[in-house]
Symmetry: C2
Subunit: 342 residues, 2 copies
């Protein structure tokens, strides 16, 4: 599998823009990542600063490639929001990146770097990465749910990313699983993401801790503002009964949404991704256990439920796949990139 980039070789730059980290790597046509780099994107400093960071990172990766005689035919960017490659930036979403929606960052990057720029929603890019180089390799129909700050979805139908009629498909976090339930940031009530995201897990934990005597170690963590999903999963792993109850509740609420999606899509593969996916075996096993109670048996029997396999590099590899597959190219003139095969 390992193949050193060298004379006559190509690799592409994949950039993954997140709220906390901007990650970048050189990715070979076989999905190998070299030249890894991470920096805070400084989103609080605005779009111009973010573009500056993207440019600097891409330049240093391109330079590193060229020094090894590797050609870089394009740069891919995974970002929150909905991409419009005509505009060269976002036309929707990314509410937590002020100003990013109106910034034609693809246009600016293309002008500065001199290569075509490809971009897509981060969850869409990630599921493409898993499809080509990860857990989804060789599969046709895949649903991926990414559990983190929110719950995002990536949909692969007949081996192709399904983005909906205007790029908004996959808002699985805003499937209502609990009518009249918790208020959601989107204005609705009972959205799945209020139960299955990091925010949802902490909400469930606090409800259960409030019902206790305050003597649980997790209650102490919460009072000090240090309650995290990791701490809850760790405590459950040590046999803390309160934590075990929380994890079981959260796994049940998570399974309810996964089960609904399996009933709707009858996919071959359901990929559990995002930060929560790395919570480890016991949590994933609890989800699997609850799935049997909230999925139609015929549909569940046909669906493999697995954790994502690309880990923290998923967004970067997915961004590279955009280049290899010619998805959302700026400028538009060339629809498919044929010179670089996957």
């Amino acid at each position: 599998m390992a193949e050193k980039p060298g004379r006559g070789r190509t690799a592409v730059v994949g950039l993954d823009l997140g709220g906390t980290n901007l990650k970048g790597g050189l990715v070979s046509p076989r999905g190998e990542v070299t030249g890894w780099t991470v920096t805070p994107p400084g989103i609080e400093r605005g779009p111009d600063h973010i573009i500056g960071e993207l440019t600097a990172m891409a330049r240093s990766l391109i330079r590193a490639a060229e020094e090894r005689g590797t050609e870089v035919p394009g740069v891919g960017v995974a970002t929150p929001g909905i991409i419009d490659p005509e505009f060269g930036g976002l036309t929707g979403g990314a509410e937590n990146l002020p100003g990013w929606k109106n910034t034609p960052f693809m246009k600016v990057l293309h002008r500065r770097l001199g290569v075509p720029v490809y971009a897509h929603n981060d969850v869409s890019a990630t599921v493409l990465g898993e499809l080509w180089f990860g857990a989804g390799n060789g599969r046709k129909n895949i649903i991926m749910a990414s559990f983190g700050t929110g719950v995002g979805g990536g949909i692969v139908i007949n081996g192709e990313l399904y983005a909906g009629s205007t790029g908004y498909a996959g808002e699985i976090g805003h499937m209502v699983t609990s009518v009249n339930g918790r208020p959601c940031a989107c204005g609705m009530r009972g959205c799945w993401e209020e139960y299955a995201s990091i925010r949802g897990i902490l909400h469930t934990a606090r409800e259960r801790l409030a019902a206790g005597d305050g003597g649980c170690p997790l209650a102490g963590l919460d009072r000090r503002g240090e309650l995290t999903p990791e701490a809850i999963f760790d405590a459950a792993g040590r046999g803390d009964p309160k934590a075990e109850g929380i994890v079981d509740d959260v796994a049940r609420d998570t399974a309810i949404g996964i089960g609904s999606l399996i009933n709707i899509f009858n996919p071959e593969l359901f990929i559990i991704g995002g930060g929560i996916a790395s919570a480890g075996e016991p949590y994933l096993n609890a989800i699997q256990r609850h799935l049997a109670d909230c999925t139609l048996p015929d549909a569940l029997a046909q669906t493999e439920v697995v954790p994502a396999s690309l880990g923290y590099r998923a967004g970067v590899i997915g961004a590279a796949v955009l280049v290899f597959r010619g998805v959302n190219r700026y400028p538009r003139e060339q629809v498919e990139t044929r010179s670089v095969g996957v």
Copy 2:
């Protein structure tokens, strides 16, 4: 549009097998229906009887066509359940048609009629009918929900029916909208169909009537075993406040599921079908009103929500589309029917 079948013309037989009625028609390549016929399928008399009824109906329609010099190159059947064209019958579903799952009805029909037989799940056939000759004509991405005994779904992605990896896709009625909610016939709790189907509407009505003083005319109907969705919609139309409350609750619960599906799929078109779809303007308007509160604005803005347009002939027309499009043919040798164009 009207074109009389005549010498050199072709038409196909479409059969729609339901629990109450077996409907059949001759359908022209332009979607015109002639030679309409309806009979009770006698499902309580078992699979052999049903096949006998299907055969007799197809024969009489073929004879009528031939008398007018119209050639009939195939027979299409819309049925509850999951079709496996290799087996020539169902491999799943259709729990309310005992024995139907193990009966190779396509094989038997083919042997008796001498023409290829095509079959599909009734909701899938219906959405194909709407796609080619109804509300969905010319659209690429469509979700159809059929509200009746249960809630079934038809999914069109990129202009093609999406059936999932093993034919089970579209079980939208078993999306959980109310965690810990009403027990569903499937064994789960809180499935959408327990709120939005005929059964769900009556359940909601009885809950509201039980909370009243029994003096509402609907309570009288219920005591006599005559409570129906039609009666409730009629009473709401006459301004009965209890009925208006029921209709508003049901419309809200229905909108919650539609909104979730729009958030997931970002379709161009959402078709409301099934018996409930003919409840009329006030109900559809109430659904539309609630949709604004349970759909992401960006996704809703891009989606047209409309009632089905083919009405009681939808299944027959959909069954005919299976023949025109070469979907699920028995015997298999010819994958696409090219001689009959749509």
